[in-house]
């Protein structure tokens, strides 16, 4: 910002709003992480204070790690999220390329049909999906989750990516054609690198709901073998007693992988959100 456009009251105002928002957004996260390091008495006695020497306790984490399978749940979550993300990005980008690049009969209808999923929540079809999975013997497999999440993520991915792909220079693609590149090479080597920011945006929007989802793991893959982290954390939620230490520790741990993935994508993401606004 240049000095000419900077005024003190405005700067203070802007910062005040942003700081307030940050505090509100971070508050629950900090509360969870903070309390995960406290003893049970500490959590109930003074939930809003940071752990002190007296209330500091790693019991939550030892419970979680003691519950041998927790790593396995983590692994399941990670496999499901990464695989779904990969398929959503691959197929989403391919469909978006076809819709934006080729003129064929029914192009617009196809685009609308593919975008319909944005408006209709996939959970409405849960019963049918369960029947389908039972019929195809995929219940209690990670494949079932990956398939469902891929379907869930595709509509938004196609919608966003096709808008971005329309902006990729036609001349560039045509230059590739004249140089004898195949349509696949044009897609993978010329177009994809140019829409990378949009891909990162889509990746983040796709990844978080998948990682946090409880619904489909509960219905489609509740077995010990295929439990995801969110489902695994339910273990500590009893009908009569709830092991808060363990739940908070599990949730704090569950934040980590998403955070790592987010950091990987965020450098691209920022460009994705602002691209078009500033050339």
């Amino acid at each position: 910002m240049s000095t000419a456009t900077r005024s003190l009251p405005r700067t203070i105002g802007a910062h005040a709003i942003l700081i307030t928002y940050t505090v509100i957004a971070l508050f629950p996260v900090i509360l969870v992480v903070m309390n995960s390091f406290k003893s049970r008495a500490g959590i109930f006695g003074a939930p809003l204070t940071p752990p002190t020497a007296k209330t500091f306790d790693l019991i939550g984490y030892t419970t979680v790690f003691g519950q041998g399978d927790f790593f396995h749940y983590f692994q399941n979550s990670l496999v499901v999220t990464v695989a779904s993300l990969f398929f959503v990005l691959l197929f989403g980008a391919m469909a978006a390329f076809a819709l934006s690049e080729y003129r064929f009969r029914g192009n617009t209808m196809m685009g609308l049909y593919l975008a319909l999923g944005i408006m209709i929540p996939i959970r409405l079809g849960t019963v049918a999906i369960l029947q389908l999975m039972v019929a195809s013997g995929l219940v209690n497999t990670l494949t079932a989750l990956i398939l469902v999440y891929t379907a869930q993520g595709l509509p938004l991915a196609i919608f966003i990516l096709s808008e971005f792909m329309k902006q990729v220079s036609n001349d560039l693609k045509n230059a590739g054609r004249i140089d004898g590149l195949s349509e696949y090479t044009i897609f993978f080597r010329l177009v994809l690198p140019l829409v990378r920011p949009a891909m990162a945006t889509v990746a983040v929007f796709t990844m978080i709901p998948i990682w946090n989802d409880l619904w489909f793991p509960l219905i489609l893959a509740p077995s010990e073998e295929t439990k995801t982290v969110t489902l695994g954390a339910q273990l500590f939620l009893g009908q009569f007693v709830t092991n808060w230490n363990a739940i908070l520790a599990a949730l704090s741990l569950a934040i980590l992988p998403v955070l790592i993935l987010y950091v990987i994508f965020s450098r691209q993401l920022i460009r994705g959100i602002t691209s078009g606004a500033v050339k």
Binding site: D171, N174, R177, I178, G180
Partner: protein, 332 residues
């Protein structure tokens, strides 16, 4: 080596007919320029020739062979785009090499061709740079280099200079002219800048609304335009068109170029007042509001001092006056 024939090519995008039957023959080694107003279908025609767009009907023959089902890479063409269209992730060298690699050219041969092309276009210092690290003029030279290394039968240029500034445009224009002379290749060049058209072309094709209005050498088009459109399009400042009825003529419209009018302070055919004078040094453009002829432009060579509001008489050179009928065609 490098002739082109287009037979009754039509192209429609849905219900919109963009090319309405184009017939054209280009002989080997010719420099042909397509000109026409924006949206008349120049780029579309070029893309049909390149194979980037299928024609709705008609045939395109390169060296006598019908290429309707030949993919762009196999047509023996190279194209230079208005937006350069360089591969952003490749160095200048690899930008030029990519097409040859795809075609399976041996690497020694690729190296040799890049060497020649980069020397020709003074690109040697930049071979290891990426497009983002080059200026606009350098980028366009790389784009031309990428076309040259393919050693095509046919070069296609789509407004290659329109993103460059005026000085650079003159230089690059010169380079393209030299390139044509040196390679003796057939070139098709799209522009809506008529200076480029007049200076580069062996043959100009004037397009309007998807049709060819006239084909001819620059001087043919200047001296004997077939119709009002061509007469108005070729030449700068634009030809004056005067309602024939006002002059008591049988022709619908009378056309006279600004440079074929003379002015005199005391007597002449059309009396008028000076509205505005543009002093360009080498010549002067006067805008006269005439009683009979309406607002006309007069181009006078050298300096001519005329104040707005002054009365002047303009006289057309009778031998260089064009008469157009009601259908816009020239009357002979």
């Amino acid at each position: 080596m490098g002739s082109l024939k287009i037979e009754n090519v039509k192209k429609a995008f849905g219900p919109v007919e963009v090319l309405k039957g184009i017939d054209l023959e280009v002989t080997d080694g010719e420099f042909v320029v397509f000109v026409g107003p924006s949206g008349c279908g120049k780029s579309t025609l070029l893309r049909v020739i390149a194979g980037l767009e299928d024609s709705t009907s008609g045939r395109v023959l390169i060296d006598g062979a019908d290429v309707s089902v030949t993919p762009p890479a196999k047509r023996g063409i190279a194209m230079v785009f208005q937006t350069y269209a360089l591969y952003p992730h490749l160095t200048v060298r690899n930008n030029m090499a990519l097409g040859l690699k795809q075609a399976g050219t041996p690497s020694a041969e690729i190296e040799r061709r890049i060497k020649i092309a980069s020397a020709m276009l003074s690109l040697e210092p930049y071979l290891e740079r990426r497009p983002a690290e080059l200026s606009g003029g350098q980028r366009q030279r790389v784009a031309i280099g990428r076309a040259v290394v393919r050693e095509p039968k046919l070069f296609l240029f789509d407004e290659p200079l329109s993103n460059l500034d005026a000085a650079l445009r003159v230089n690059t224009r010169l380079e393209i002219a030299q390139l044509h002379r040196r390679l003796k290749a057939t070139m098709i060049y799209v522009t809506h800048d008529q200076v480029e058209a007049m200076t580069l072309a062996d043959k100009i094709v004037v397009l309007n609304a998807g049709r060819i209005e006239q084909i001819g050498s620059p001087m043919e088009l200047y001296n004997s335009p077939a119709n009002e459109f061509v007469a108005g399009f070729i030449g700068s400042p634009k030809m004056n068109f005067i309602d024939g009825a006002k002059l008591g003529e049988t022709a619908k419209t009378i056309g006279v170029r600004p440079e074929h009018l003379t002015v005199d302070a005391n007597s002449g055919a059309w009396k008028g007042t000076v509205v505005h004078a543009e002093h360009l040094g080498a010549d002067t453009n006067l805008y006269l509001d005439c009683e009979k002829a309406g607002l006309i432009t007069v181009r006078i060579f050298g300096v001519y001092n005329a104040e707005p509001g002054a009365t002047l008489y303009a006289t057309p050179d009778a031998a260089k006056t064009y008469r157009f009928g009601a259908d816009g065609k020239v009357l002979r």
